[in-house]
């Protein structure tokens, strides 16, 4: 069967980052690694990054996650960079609100302008906080990207199941995940059919077309759900989505390396934060 997965929809889908992330999750070099290892690595690193909230730690986290995704999982550097840039504009905007203060007395401001009898400006402390926050968020984002680029959702779900999260929660997540793709595909088809009939030619028709697309999508989703229920019932569905779990094996070597990495990150962060001062120098003060 030399039937390649290249329906027109598939070609178009390639441009959507979400779908591309999902695709890398299945084909990257770390795909066969036990999902628990990757989840522990990503989550512990993220926690360290969030707890220390120091720019140095955040930078180390960003660089190491990017390094692992690019060098170990062989995700193209350009794609990883593109993904990291995606939240930058959003982060900058939200961080700016932290950097700016609203004061009566302009003394101590690095820069500011008057609004009525108040001054809006930035302080050096505000700037530093904003910078910390920015790097910290990017660090956390890098961890999540690492996880989603290297670990298929199916594997993540099977770990959550093994951790005894409520089955209802896991089944919902898995259905939502599956139907995101069905809906995207449906939306894509409706959009194409509308666009081919000049549905997006002017601003006005665009609005009405988009409205129709959304309402259509909901109707279709409803019908899809009904059909799905019928088809599941015909396969003896009795309220639980039982499926075979994938059988990954935990690697001691990987676990050891992960612990080593986290320990090093922790020590470095503590040192940088000043918790760990060398005995000789720090004792006197």
């Amino acid at each position: 069967m030399n039937d390649t997965p290249t329906t027109p929809g598939y070609q178009r889908r390639q441009s959507v980052s979400l779908l591309k992330i999902d695709q890398y999750a299945y084909i990257n070099r770390l795909a066969h690694v036990h999902p628990l290892e990757k989840m522990v690595l990503a989550l512990v690193t993220m926690i360290i990054c969030l707890v220390f909230s120091s720019p140095a730690t955040s930078l180390i986290v960003i660089l190491s996650m990017a390094g692992m995704a690019i060098l170990l999982a062989r995700i193209p550097a350009s794609f990883f960079l593109k993904l990291m840039l995606a939240p930058v504009a959003f982060l900058l905007l939200s961080v700016l609100t932290v950097a700016f203060v609203w004061v009566k007395d302009p003394a101590g401001l690095l820069w500011g302008f008057n609004v009525g009898c108040y001054t809006v400006g930035v302080t050096s402390r505000g700037l530093i906080t904003a910078g910390d926050l920015f790097l910290k968020s990017l660090g956390a984002v890098a961890c999540l990207y690492f996880l989603s680029l290297t670990t298929p959702m199916v594997d993540i779900l099977s770990v959550l199941k093994a951790l005894r999260l409520p089955p209802l929660f896991i089944e919902l997540m898995s259905l939502v995940y599956r139907f995101i793709f069905v809906l995207l595909d449906t939306a894509d088809k409706i959009y194409t059919s509308q666009a081919s009939r000049w549905g997006y030619a002017t601003m006005k028709t665009s609005y009405s077309s988009l409205g129709q697309l959304v309402s259509n999508l909901f109707t279709k989703a409803g019908r899809n759900y009904q059909m799905l229920y019928t088809t599941l019932t015909s396969r003896c569905y009795t309220g639980e989505l039982n499926v075979l779990e994938s059988s990954h094996v935990l690697s001691r070597k990987n676990l050891f390396l992960i612990i080593l990495f986290e320990a090093a990150l922790l020590l470095a962060s503590m040192h940088l934060a000043g918790f760990l001062t060398p005995f000789a120098g720090g004792a006197g003060s």
Binding site: D3, T7, Q23, V182, M227, R235
Partner: protein, 281 residues
């Protein structure tokens, strides 16, 4: 019909909530172990009938029988019926619920309460029989339409039913992949499974099926072997069906005496043989 019927309906009638009469007084008996085609235009009631065979719809009137037993609608009896009669739905997109091909196929056998080893073995065999072993670690949403169709068939095969029902198996498939699916269904039938399909494609029904039911407006208006049914011109007219082009062509050549005598050919290969076998006059 001398074979014992595996599925039977008597006086079956069903209307949807909006009042559409989808089935009207359907009496039929489906012989076991054969390749069966339900032939009829869109809206004839084929899908509705198949839903009855699986106990997914309860008839308004009449009864359904499986292997001589009346179908009951309590939980346990329905599970038992669904274990023996499997339905592959027309649109694989609505049937595939899991993102992983292997997990998707394991759903049915796990519901049958089989031990893990048996499930693994059945899933493997179903993937092997449908030729999708190399897709087992691919996410379902990156498969082509034809591949999804195969996964949908493997879903049901893994439950090892006695009857495999395939609603419009060739819909939206190109000629090559449609042919592959029909060959697959023939192979499945070769292992003793009764295979039932619905189609509006006269040529497909003629060349593939052992026995054909013709449906129109919720009724079965005719049934026979393909050799017989397409000689019944009145029936074809009533059903608004074309004759298979192969049969028309064969008859024309027979009148001219250009083909050997015998049963009419079912496919191109048989047709060419009947021309070649004819001694030059």
């Amino acid at each position: 019909m001398k074979d014992k019927p595996i599925l039977e309906t008597r006086g079956l009638g069903f209307s949807y909530v909006d009042g559409t009469q989808a089935l009207v007084d359907v009496d039929l008996a489906i012989p076991a172990g054969k390749k069966i085609a339900f032939l009829g235009p869109n809206g004839a009631g084929k899908t509705t009938l198949f839903l009855h065979f699986n106990g997914l719809i309860r008839p308004d009137r009449g009864k359904v029988y499986f292997a001589g037993q009346e179908v009951r609608y309590d939980h346990a009896s329905l599970l038992e019926l669904r274990k023996k009669v499997g339905v592959v739905f027309q649109d694989p997109e609505t049937q595939l619920f899991s993102a992983s091909v292997r997990q998707e196929i394991s759903f049915g056998p796990l519901n049958l309460g089989l031990p893990r080893e048996a499930v693994l073995q059945r899933v493997h065999k179903a993937m092997q029989d449908t030729g999708i072993l190399e897709l087992q670690d691919r996410p379902t949403h990156f498969l082509s339409y034809g591949q999804k169709k195969r996964v949908a068939i493997a879903d049901i095969l893994a439950m090892q039913p006695e009857v495999l029902i395939c609603d419009e198996p060739t819909a939206w498939l190109d000629v090559k992949h449609a042919g592959q699916i029909m060959d697959l269904l023939t192979e499945i039938n070769g292992e003793g499974v009764t295979v039932i399909i619905s189609t509006h494609d006269v040529d497909l029904a003629y060349s593939w099926a052992d026995y054909i039911f013709i449906m129109k407006s919720g009724k079965v208006i005719g049934e026979a072997t393909p050799e017989c049914i397409f000689y019944n011109r009145q029936l074809l007219e009533e059903a608004e069906l074309q004759r298979p082009w192969l049969l028309d062509l064969y008859e024309e050549l027979q009148r001219k005496g250009w083909v050997s005598a015998g049963l009419p050919p079912k496919n191109i290969r048989e047709f060419l043989r009947s021309i070649r076998d004819k001694e030059p006059a």
